[in-house]
């Protein structure tokens, strides 16, 4: 898009050129610092960085995905994100949003890769099919795998957007016909940040990009490679229905009295207790709501393999290999019953088999009985 630019504007310059005021700019930095969980001193740091750094070149790839990540990103609640980070300045290549197409688009990408070798950020939306030599997803005559390897080679860091790129999402659900594979399982020699969610929250995505721009490095990651600022807490631990959980007030069915009163959705399958994300605090669509607030349990979209983590509307997961209706408790109860039955059988068998041995003891015990008063 903007690869032909001669002198590069800093972020601040492009923001002002686009008709925003300085006040808007400062608000934006404060807002980002808050999302990233920094203290107020970081506002100035972010502002300075955006004033002095020229734009960060970003190549944004789309493989096996539904583009919900891009959709989420352009709905972040601050216009500067959409206008500046996305539209005007940063994205050198993104199939969905760029004006160019076909050969021109590929040429733009190539130009960025050559010009900013080792400097650009590779953002990936979607998983890579590894089955059948990767023919399930081809772009410009190359497989997604080839595209990824080429683009990753000169990247400074990789952002794996969404559950597709960070864990495989629905394409990799069993039996995973295309061999859909997340990015970190393919590229192992670059810093990779995983930003799971189907899609991730727009503010989270903006926060990650702004952090990279402002501090020149990836934000602090947890053990699973996710930014700590957004994935350190369970949805359950920031859920406004939590008091109902602790009080033991649960929705049993979606149309019962408890559902009307807004009680906890644990028993209708809410995965909040096993899901790490910021939905409870940042929420969605400009902070309007999030699934649980709208009366539907969390279904754990930011957890690895969430499609295979069991039914959406039930608490206890099916035990693999025991048929559809066998949850852990049913299998456990049957097993315990069988074992108790076996013990009872053993008890009966032993009274017969050990009859003589036992009788000998009882008899001698009776002899003694006669000898005591």
């Amino acid at each position: 898009m903007s690869t032909t630019e001669k002198k590069q504007d800093t972020y601040y310059e492009s923001i002002i050129k686009n008709g925003f005021s300085r006040r808007d700019f400062i608000k934006f930095t404060a807002f980002m610092a808050a999302y990233l969980g920094y203290e107020t001193s970081a506002v100035a740091q972010i502002a300075t960085a955006l004033k002095t750094t020229p734009r960060l070149p970003i190549i944004w790839e789309h493989y096996q995905e539904c583009t919900c990540c891009s959709e989420s990103f352009i709905r972040t609640n601050h216009p500067i994100v959409a206008d500046i980070i996305l539209d005007k300045v940063s994205l050198d290549y993104t199939l969905t949003l760029m004006a160019a197409s076909g050969h021109q688009a590929e040429a733009a990408k190539k130009a960025t890769m050559d010009k900013y070798k080792g400097e650009y950020i590779l953002a990936v939306e979607g998983s890579v099919p590894m089955g059948e030599d990767g023919i399930y997803c081809c772009i410009a005559g190359k497989t997604a795998l080839q595209q990824l390897q080429e683009a990753a080679a000169g990247a400074k860091a990789i952002i794996a957007w969404g559950s597709c790129a960070s864990s495989g999402c629905v394409q990799s659900a069993k039996p995973n016909p295309t061999g859909a594979t997340p990015i970190h399982k393919i590229i192992t020699d670059k810093p990779i940040i995983r930003v799971p969610g189907c899609p991730p929250i727009g503010e989270v995505m903006a926060g990650v990009i702004v952090h990279v721009i402002a501090f020149g490095k990836l934000p602090e990651l947890d053990r699973q490679g996710r930014p700590k600022a957004f994935y350190a807490k369970r949805v359950h631990d920031s859920c406004y229905r939590r008091p109902y959980f602790d009080a033991g007030l649960f929705v049993e069915e979606f149309d019962d009295e408890s559902a009307k009163k807004g009680h906890c959705l644990y028993k209708v399958g809410c995965k909040g207790p096993v899901t790490y994300n910021s939905c409870g605090s940042i929420k969605w669509n400009n902070g309007v709501s999030y699934p649980i607030q709208s009366g539907h349990g969390c279904f754990g979209c930011s957890e690895d393999n969430f499609w295979d983590n069991g039914p959406i509307y039930e608490r206890l997961t099916n035990v693999p290999g025991f048929g559809i209706e066998a949850n852990a408790d049913k299998v456990g109860m049957v097993a315990a019953g069988v074992v108790a039955g076996a013990a009872a059988g053993h008890a009966i068998a032993s009274t017969m088999s050990k009859r003589k041995e036992h009788k000998g003891r009882v008899d001698s015990g009776k002899d003694i009985e006669k000898q005591v008063d």
Partner: protein, 238 residues
């Protein structure tokens, strides 16, 4: 073979720390299973009431976590005692690696599990402390509850401020997420329940058949052995 009299001598088998461990473990496991089942599938108690005045599910979870700590520390204490205590408490008895223990294992399997009536009864087949099958089952149980502790504290770690639960935080990424870890934690509970059924039944079986104080030994610490057994040992030592 000596002719067998029916005279018995009293042996001190389970020292006080072993017995304390056993009953603390017993209470903690019952508490953990009871509260764990409620966590897994909370009943619709008091569902008409207002949240303001109740916290029973929070309390239930608190009991689970508190019992989890007691359970874990108690286990640490037992491991420590397996280096300090008498020969029946020693860690070695849990590993069926000596010839003697393997022989005992095959005897117990034939005589007590398959209920065969064996002709050649020798004293060395009759265990005083744990029999070899039982002690091996405790080794498996030990591994099982280590897994239960690891998965439990891993789930707990995220809300903890203390370093101890955080030691287990790596378990979550190892299994790919909380969901699977919780399911494992839940499934292991059923193994614990099944172990307990078998354990309690076999203790009663031995008590019934052998009449050597198997059940009461965990209260008073004593079991009984035949007089001849003590005499033979004496002769050997003389």
């Amino acid at each position: 073979m000596t002719t067998i009299s029916h005279e018995y001598k009293r042996v001190f088998v389970w020292e006080v720390p072993v017995r304390i461990f056993h009953w603390v473990n017993f209470i903690a496991i019952i508490a953990l299973i009871a509260t764990g089942i409620l966590i897994g599938n909370p009943p619709a108690l008091m569902s008409g009431a207002e949240a303001t005045n109740q916290y029973w599910f929070g309390i239930n979870r608190f009991i689970h976590f508190a019992a989890g700590y007691i359970f874990t520390l108690n286990l640490v204490y037992r491991v420590f005692w397996s280096f300090m205590g008498n020969k029946y408490a020693n860690w070695k008895v849990f590993f069926p690696f000596s010839k003697k223990r393997r022989k005992n294992m095959s005897h117990v399997l034939k005589s007590d599990i398959l209920l065969q009536n064996l002709k050649n009864s020798s004293f060395s087949n009759i265990s005083v402390g744990h029999n070899a099958v039982a002690s091996f089952s405790y080794l498996i149980f030990f591994i099982l509850i280590l897994l239960q502790i690891a998965t439990g504290f891993a789930l707990y770690a995220d809300n903890a401020t203390w370093w101890f639960p955080k030691l287990f935080a790596w378990v979550i990424p190892l299994f790919g997420g909380d969901a699977l870890v919780r399911l494992m934690h839940h499934i292991i509970m059923w193994f614990v329940i099944i172990f307990s059924i078998v354990h309690i039944y076999l203790v009663m079986y031995h008590d019934w058949l052998e009449g050597r104080g198997e059940v009461s030994s965990m209260f008073g610490g004593f079991k009984f052995v035949r007089k001849e057994r003590v005499d033979i040992k004496k002769e050997l030592n003389d």
